[in-house]
Symmetry: D2
Subunit: 296 residues, 4 copies
């Protein structure tokens, strides 16, 4: 298969169930909404070593926020509902409540709700009110008043949607990955939780040499090992590979994000091939085939 | 006391001992060095609810980095040395090693070193080399090679240096706080770990109303409560207050950062007064007096 | 009149006819599309002293551009059609054709078209093709190929739509002006051509003291002169005033931009009053009343 | 010759005399200082079609500015002294005086001074004062007071210093050019006036086919023409070429900028060769040899 002259491998991304919450953060301007969203979702690339998988979903215009201010939607993911709750409590309490002009609202309709009670910080001076249809607490703080909703929807989502971008060299692959991440940044209900949205070190489960390691490099996709191993999966002209990993509120959202990402990546000069990562279908509940995603 | 027409209160910031590590992150360009540094130091405002206090110290020019590429120095702080180690392992392994074109080096000369062994991820394909006087591992990854040093200095530092900016209204106080943070961003050996460097919700220990709360609002500095409580410490014309909290590698570094921050803040129209937060000297080991900091 | 507690004066913005062209600039990523758009619209605040009034209209998603790449729409305005043509030729030839990965397309359906012939730069190596329904030239350059359309629509537009933001102090007024500009940045067919979209030095025609000056300060709106002149129009609690000036492809577009800007500005703490600038209706063809704009 | 494995051609950049002014712009924060600097130096890539060659020299810390606020140094260049004067008057009057919180100061010690009289805008309400050793006017405006110095040094400088970056493909060459521009951004007394500092369409004088053209493509460096012409100067593995053009206050400054740019560029994977543009020494007064620049 091909898309705009770039080979699309007939394979699939293998993805997993995860629990997801979605928070709308607003502030006096986009700069601060983004600062807050970045801090609250930082140290959140992968639950293998981070306390959550978290990221910025998208910028919200003033028409899309409960209080009519500029905003950002973020998503916080964890394998367990209780994990999502703990992470919401810590991240919202420490990174949003403390931040200048920030406010926060539930951004996910869901049957299950998690109570995130921050208003006690007001020491009795706090009061309830309604903002744009949301019941919130107003907590007097040094910077003014902190506005927070205290019930957050949580629901099953999908983690680990992905695409691999293979290019003639590193910088072409990287530019294409950046463009893919940027395009995915406009798809509602999805995040790319890794640093800048891009993964440089895609892995395989386990290790050939170190028995204590749960995951090690995926040497078949490492350009500098191309001529040192037998089973490299890299074409001769490929010297740069980056992966984009996507979490979303649903299989459809992740599929749409993969489509947007691939369409953006193939525009970049030097990109040779798009593929995706899977474990032969043995580990994950979801299989997102590139040809279905792209309608090819 | 006064500085450029702004009242400086004769008080002190009360600060605490903490353990600090410092990491130099480099990348193919400043954009990626910053992305990596942001992700690695995110969810790191305060150890009260975050797993570490972490932040960006400063941008490094190509002459200041071991590999001659653009870079960023970050600091990771925790009350205990083992805490620093755990956080370095998780944050560097998950947010730096996975990131496109990133490399990392020890940035702190110190007697004590923490081993942060990431090279096993290379599954035997990794090898040792020397970069700009640092012994590093080169781990083949999809994006090329990940270069990492594996011993990081850790030493006692100072947490909780601070300044309070009181202004005629919120936006003046906020602009002044932003300028203070920006000026502190040029002081070596210091970070402002809160979101965007600014704290909107300075607190008091304990609570009058909720016995289960360890900290609640500092109502004496809340503008919206000025006329509702007896003991407000806010002048009549003050309607906006923000705090900047500073961690550093030494008392001198924190003092220098406070000085730079205050000098920047007083330039902003609408700023009325600068003060600092303390607990009467009962809790913290360090007392940084504003008049000493400023040489007034 | 009031909007969210902020006084809205019952007055109007007085605006003028102008000729407008609109160009779609695309590039390999948003960063470069923005760089190109900034350079091509720089030195373009006011035709009083600049060769054009020019600005960024809005970011374009990959679905909105002819070539499916990230893009930015810009507008170039001049009182005369020939002025628009000269400015397009110089700005597109010098700032877009020279820029890495840039392409450009007509962005305005209009009866009149201006020929902007840049393909001769290809010295015979250039060739014609079709991109997303646009007839373009492909010019081989060092960076690859420069893609350019050569016919640009020009039509009558409206210059000088405006709003004045009066606040308790400078920083509140400035933050509100920034937010207004940001909101206007989402309104199609409009630009705010001044530096960062904000005007700090609104003027009156002529001068009381210097006969050779065509325009001098509008002293009735200068906070530092409030107590030095008799006829200040500033309320006692106003110490900061900024203006936002809007050009657009139509009266409706400018009106919509004013509405978006005002709605954003009134959200900022410290804003006291919104008004607009006019010359008593003597100079301009268009009168945009705030109450009509806001539907109050 | 080689630098870090990249071929350095033994050739020279041919450069020309030009007149230079240097202006220090300050503002309430770095954001606004940069906005102002961008607007004031926009539409200023090349005097072939722009009214000036202009650009941002570097960010200034609060210690480097006359008023202790954040700042940016810009340079404005024109072949004639009167051209510099006209451009200063228009660009500073329209893009700086109108901008929120902006102030401006002479940034160049020089025997010759250009008078740039903007204070008449104050209509008699303006007054003189001294700021950080500079004699300035304070002009009351809506946004507060505009502070401007009115004498600007002008002196002979050097235009057209350059380097060509040849890489395996476009994105590698572009990333390297971006890094070069970023490194040059730290060299005092120099600017890269083209869009984002990078030139995609290096030219030759005249034309083979179109007699009315003064400059057309430099086909020997166009990757897409490599196999279509006889005399391509591109190595077989080069598919992307970008140029960085430098103006400076002296030959030494331009030489230092070229050195910094080349050192940064060779770090980027995929870069194959560095060369420079000249006209065989027939046109320009200055010849900057790469081997001298680099001390090879």
């Amino acid at each position: 298969m091909e898309l705009e002259g770039v080979e699309i491998e007939d394979t699939f991304a293998e993805a997993f169930p995860i629990k997801v919450a979605r928070v709308l953060i607003t502030a006096v301007n986009e700069k601060w909404a983004l600062e807050v969203a970045k801090e609250a979702t930082g140290f959140g690339t992968s639950v293998i070593g981070c306390p959550a998988e978290a990221g910025i979903e998208k910028l919200l215009s003033q028409e899309e926020t409960p209080d009519g201010r500029p905003g950002v939607a973020i998503m916080i993911c964890h394998f367990k509902k209780e994990g999502v709750k703990g992470q919401l409590l810590a991240r919202l309490g420490q990174c949003v409540m403390t931040a200048p002009t920030a406010a926060m609202f539930n951004g996910l309709e869901a049957e299950e709700k998690l109570p995130i009670k921050l208003h006690f910080f007001g020491d009795g001076f706090e009061y309830e009110k309604e903002v744009g249809g949301h019941n919130v607490w107003a907590v007097p703080i040094m910077g003014g008043e902190f506005i927070c909703e205290e019930e957050y929807g949580v629901k099953p989502g999908v983690a680990g949607g992905n695409l691999f971008i293979l290019a003639k060299d590193q910088m072409s692959a990287l530019t294409a990955a950046e463009d893919a991440v940027s395009a995915i940044g406009q798809v509602e209900g999805t995040i790319t939780s890794f640093t800048g949205g891009v993964v440089a070190s895609g892995s395989k489960p386990g290790s050939q040499k170190y028995k204590f390691m749960h995951a090690t490099i995926n040497e078949k996709f490492c350009p500098t090992l191309k001529d040192k191993i037998d089973a490299s999966e890299l074409p001769a002209d490929v010297n740069g590979v980056f992966e984009v990993v996507i979490n979303g509120v649903s299989e459809e959202a992740v599929s749409e994000a993969m489509r947007a990402g691939i369409k953006a990546a193939v525009k970049v000069p030097g990109v040779v091939k798009i593929t995706a990562g899977n474990f032969g279908g043995k580990l994950g509940k979801y299989q997102l085939r590139l040809k279905d995603v792209l309608g090819l």
